[in-house]
Symmetry: C2
Subunit: 329 residues, 2 copies
């Protein structure tokens, strides 16, 4: 019988195993327009933490006892829609389960690009699109800019580093630990800050970017954001993509350099990648070009089996992944 | 002999009387192109606190023992420049003194508008221009928007309230104390928060703007900024003009609702009014129109005599003024 992960309890602070429960989902016949998908790959992403709270947000909260949702790639095994047929590989949002029944309109055939299917959950999917539009549109980064990106070994950050280099920018990445720092350097970053080994991100960034930064791509908030305020050049632009630091945290963010937003005329913009879906064509076109030029590397951290999903998710918040965190079914 | 205020010591935290010293400035003959101005009105403004620290900022720090500068309006008493003559009223930046010698190029004849000369240090000067461009350009506020403005009884805030009403917006102002709150209501604000009497600005703003805010004009930072993050509607714009709260403060700003910048796609922009000087014509044109329609009120807090200048400045940080704080010589 198909199985799905549900939220058993709303996490207080960091999620723990007992906040999740695996349930059986009785199979049912397809209605017209529906498809049945055998999931091959599941995505776990930091933003899901927000959906575990019962507060108003840009995506509705998960309901207790209901199957959770999230990105997934799978194979159509049954279809009652003329647009999709058995054997098609699709991406959709009915993740956290091994088999999904959903309207065909909510599934998308994988674009025709020479990459493995799971890449469409990472560099060629939402995280990649987040990197692309956050850097080039929200922060309006351009050739010659000095770009600082936090969580630069992660799914989004690692793509930011590579797109920035492909477009002729100077990149300073931050990552936690020597292995990740080495990986970020391998991706082409001009400088890397291992935030676990430097005492102060503010001082480390000032040392790596003595002339300041033009762009900050924020995946973590907290002290990294403060360091970016401290280092910002005049008319710097910050794209705020995530604040992994505070998803699990009830403490306020403390900023000592916030007032520089005035003197340096900084623009700080939050964004949601789904607002850019109508422009996905631009993303695929540029990514295909960079892929053909051999400019794109990607890394995955793969966990095996549906049972491993909650732990894979929890490990996102303790630095357990390099590149995209995936669950392979 | 002309006298001028100098910085005797760099203030630690809040400035105190002994941080300032009044010195004699020997008069000297004018060089070609120079003018001598008898100052009539001096401006004291919160931004001057930043210049008292020895740190890199958008304006250079005051030098110890040198006359401080700041906005002033005065009468030309001697001129060696063909563009200005005795009796002309000018505005310039050689304030904090009773008589100034400066290049004529650094003085501007007062525009031909039916207001008193000191208005060009307030509503018709930098503070007014800050309100105008901050609201309409930086925050791109438009008819129908719900606007929250802090320090709404101050020189900048009171003008923001009136411009917003003239342009058909809903305005929520915050001010400290019953008198100032009454004044802000008199200016036309739809709702007023007396931040000294409400326990929490976050809750007070949520109550006054149950549907949220589109624009926040920030003059104070701190809990007001946090309240704006909490109340922001989707695609809200924040113009960050000042953070009076932290000029004297070494504590970091604590923000509990900062992460809403992502979900609500908020844009936060800092700005410096001097960047807008080339567009001053737009400001004078619209202000003249509103003035003719009887839409503009202004209030001044006037202190008498050069000796009163440091105390007038210090009182800015303890809420000692309603409207523009001025020193009359």
């Amino acid at each position: 019988m198909p199985r799905a992960w549900t939220l058993a309890a709303r996490p207080q602070g960091a999620p723990k195993p007992t906040d999740f429960a695996l349930i059986d989902v009785p199979a049912h016949d397809l209605a017209p327009g529906e498809i049945r998908v055998r999931n091959l790959w599941l995505s776990v992403d930091p933003y899901m933490r927000g959906r575990m709270n019962d507060v108003k947000s840009y995506v509705p909260p998960f309901q207790l006892g209901e199957p959770m949702s999230g990105g997934a790639v799978g194979e159509v095994v049954e279809s009652r829609d003329p647009g999709l047929r058995e054997g098609d590989l699709v991406q959709h949002m009915s993740g956290w389960r091994d088999e999904a029944v959903l309207p065909a309109a909510e599934a998308h055939k994988l674009p025709d690009l020479p990459v493995e299917p799971q890449a469409f959950l990472g560099q060629f999917g939402m995280p990649g699109m987040t990197a692309y539009f956050g850097l080039l549109d929200v922060a309006a980064a351009k050739e010659g800019d000095v770009v600082f990106v936090s969580a630069a070994a992660g799914a989004v950050g690692s793509t930011v580093v590579q797109i920035a280099k492909a477009r002729g920018m100077t990149v300073i990445g931050s990552a936690g630990g020597a292995d990740k720092a080495a990986y970020v350097r391998e991706l082409g970053a001009d400088a890397v800050i291992d935030y676990k080994s430097v005492g102060s991100v503010v001082r480390a960034l000032a040392a790596e970017a003595p002339g300041g930064i033009d762009v900050y791509f924020d995946n973590v908030g907290g002290d990294h954001l403060d360091a970016a305020f401290a280092a910002a050049r005049s008319h710097a632009r910050f794209a705020i993509c995530g604040m992994i630091d505070i998803y699990n945290d009830v403490k306020p963010t403390e900023l000592r350099y916030l007032a520089r937003v005035i003197g340096a005329r900084i623009t700080v913009r939050g964004f949601i990648v789904s607002d850019y879906l109508p422009r996905a064509g631009e993303f695929y076109r540029d990514m295909a070009g960079w892929l053909a030029q051999g400019r794109l590397k990607r890394d995955e951290t793969v966990r095996e089996g549906l049972e491993a999903t909650p732990q894979a998710f929890m490990d996102l918040f303790t630095g357990g992944n390099t590149g995209k965190m995936l669950v392979k079914l």
